[in-house]
């Protein structure tokens, strides 16, 4: 039987479509030409410039601080929310479920604007705290959905078995439920981390002076063509770490 070439063709097409722009970017980060129109020879120049650009590293530090703390908070709250959604059935939980899935489909611009309106109304000064709150808000939904998926596969007679063997309710949760849920929680946390790190739209609304995150910094650098190749270099590093995180996350989910 002759095998169809169609799947291979489609796969190549998809890869080309998705990764050609990234490829151009990566190549240009090593291109001596400032505008990247043509190849003018290999250089580390842009990486050296990036290394010297202190404001970029400040922004990266802010971004990482927010991403780590926001995803940790989202992991905790999201796991609790998923547990409540799975264990209790009532109209209140139906509303809860709807509300928690809403940020998944709501346009970022709407969320950014409404959060800003809230902060203005309550007199909270925009800054690190407001960015953190905003990031926890949208990360929470993703963590909840991932953990909820794990809970639906969880056999709750395991908790009965643990109690039957002498574990208190709290100990059964700690020794049986949490270890089995952990891969899902971590996968959700990684997802939250990557979402937080590259969020632009929502952060744009709720950031204040001195809290320019990396995406905001990159966008402002774009305004001057001088720093364009430096952005290429930075983006190449970001792509590499994104791939790393994506691989880690899918590994965790597969093992689970």
């Amino acid at each position: 039987m002759k095998r169809s070439r169609l799947p291979a063709v489609i796969t190549c097409g998809v890869i080309l479509f998705l990764f050609a722009p990234l490829g151009v970017l990566v190549v240009n980060s090593f291109n001596a030409s400032r505008f990247g129109g043509e190849w003018e020879g290999f250089t580390w120049n842009w990486y050296e410039k990036l290394w010297a650009a202190g404001e970029v590293w400040d922004s990266l530090w802010i971004t990482l601080k927010i991403a780590v703390s926001a995803s940790l908070a989202a992991m905790l709250l999201g796991t609790l929310a998923a547990y409540a959604l799975h264990r209790f059935r009532s109209w209140l939980q139906d509303v809860h479920h709807m509300l928690i899935t809403l940020p998944l489909v709501m346009p970022d611009i709407l969320m950014g604007m409404s959060l800003l309106a809230l902060f203005v109304l309550t007199g909270v000064e925009t800054g690190l705290l407001t960015i953190w709150i905003a990031h926890v808000t949208f990360c929470l939904s993703f963590v909840t959905m991932v953990v909820l998926g794990r809970l639906q596969d969880f056999d709750f007679t395991l908790l009965d078995a643990a109690r039957d063997l002498g574990a208190t309710q709290a100990k059964a949760v700690r020794k049986v439920l949490l270890p089995l849920l952990l891969p899902g929680v971590l996968a959700g946390g990684l997802l939250a981390f990557t979402l937080s790190i590259d969020d632009y739209v929502i952060t744009f609304f709720v950031s204040g002076p001195g809290t320019t995150t990396l995406p905001l910094r990159v966008a402002s650098m774009m305004k001057t063509s001088r720093s364009l190749p430096v952005i290429n270099a930075l983006s190449t590093l970001l792509i590499a770490s994104t791939f790393l995180f994506a691989a880690l996350s899918s590994r965790l989910q597969r093992r689970a």
Binding site: D155, L158, D160, R163, D164, L165, G166, T168
Partner: protein, 368 residues
């Protein structure tokens, strides 16, 4: 001690449904006891109340004279083998068995020797480091039993222990469970819907129906002298006839007029009055088939019928015989000594006969 586990007037209602309805039972120490009944009869709810997962609405549960009705599962001297085994997938076989001992904070040395001894008992020592997912169904069940027994429970509860196994393995585990029960001497409570399982595993069986206990007895007595038609039909096969008492004889024998069949003489327990409507039961293997009329006499009930259908099972053959509007099941053993036995073909006219002691009144009219 004859009443080691005591179920004292226990009831449990879920919504509008009475899952367990005023059940009282006593189980002796070291006994193998079964709760047998169709699904929804309340046997699982009763088991969950003994384990502590459900709280009775009314009544008390005692183990060894101590009231455990209000205790949470972790404080009860009772362990459970779950139907799906409920082994912890993230722990090794060894750690699964050690779980209970770790929870009760036993010394490290005691945990090690206890788990190793259990692994030996269920012959799984070489699988100690494996995860449950790497084991076969029968091995998983043995882990579940070891995990429960290592805590030295006063009562071991087994919820449909053989339901998840295939037929061949089931027969093997049946023997294995009996051996295990003899070795450890713990009180075993089985919950099962399979009468064959209950009969071969238990010293005594409680047959449950619609939340109530119909009869508690040894397997032999349940089979030979069922107290209700439900028990008679649930344990083994039975032919039922409805008739009217026409003649009372001495020693509990009664002649019953059965419409379209005849007037067999049967044994009755309880008081029967003339003209009372009765329900009779005869087990298929108690009926003999002959081509000619058996020698007539007081002590034999004989009726004519036509072979309607037959099925060969190797060790025995089953016949469906039509007599008027009655359809009667008879079962003949295949034996080398069946000397005068017959081998009737479909459509053959035969005589069915049974001894009066083999026919029983199972339910008098007006009984529940």
């Amino acid at each position: 001690m004859d009443d080691f586990l005591v179920i004292d007037h226990v009831s449990k209602t879920f919504g509008a449904q009475r899952a367990v309805d005023d059940v009282s039972l006593t189980v002796a120490q070291g006994e193998a006891f079964s709760l047998l009944g169709p699904s929804g009869c309340g046997k699982t709810t009763l088991l969950r109340m003994i384990a502590g997962f459900e709280r009775p609405d009314r009544g008390r549960i005692l183990v060894g004279g101590k009231d455990i009705t209000a205790l949470p599962p972790e404080l009860r001297p009772v362990n459970t083998v779950f139907q799906n085994y409920a082994l912890f997938p993230h722990l090794s076989v060894w750690e699964n068995i050690a779980f209970g001992l770790r929870m009760s904070r036993r010394p490290r040395e005691e945990i090690r020797s206890g788990v190793d001894r259990m692994l030996e008992l269920v012959r799984l020592s070489e699988h100690a480091r494996k995860r449950p997912s790497q084991l076969s169904g029968g091995q998983r069940q043995r882990v579940a039993i070891a995990r429960a027994l290592v805590n030295r429970p006063q009562v071991l509860l087994l919820d449909e222990p053989l339901a998840a196994l295939d037929l061949k393995l089931r027969q093997h585990m049946l023997m294995e469970l009996n051996t295990l029960h003899e070795q450890v001497g713990t009180t075993f409570i089985y919950v099962t819907h399979d009468q064959g399982e209950a009969m071969s595993l238990s010293d005594r069986i409680a047959v449950m129906n619609a939340g109530k206990v119909e009869q508690v007895d040894t397997p032999e007595h349940l089979y030979e002298t069922p107290s209700s038609s439900f028990v008679a039909s649930f344990i083994g096969d039975a032919n039922f006839f409805t008739g009217v008492a026409v003649e009372l004889q001495h020693e509990g024998y009664v002649r019953v007029q059965v419409e379209g069949l005849g007037s067999p003489l049967v044994l009755s327990h309880g008081t029967v009055v003339p003209n009372q409507t009765l329900r009779l039961m005869v087990r298929p293997e108690k009926i003999s088939l002959t081509l000619s009329r058996p020698p007539s006499g007081e002590r034999v009930n004989a009726f004519r019928g036509v072979v309607e259908d037959m099925a060969y099972f190797g060790s025995h053959t089953r016949y469906r015989i039509r007599a008027g509007e009655h359809s009667i099941l008879a079962q003949l053993q295949r034996s080398r000594f069946s000397g005068g036995g017959i081998d009737p073909a479909r459509g053959a006219e035969v005589w069915m006969s049974f001894h009066p002691d083999e026919g029983r009144v199972v339910r008098l009219e007006g009984d529940a």
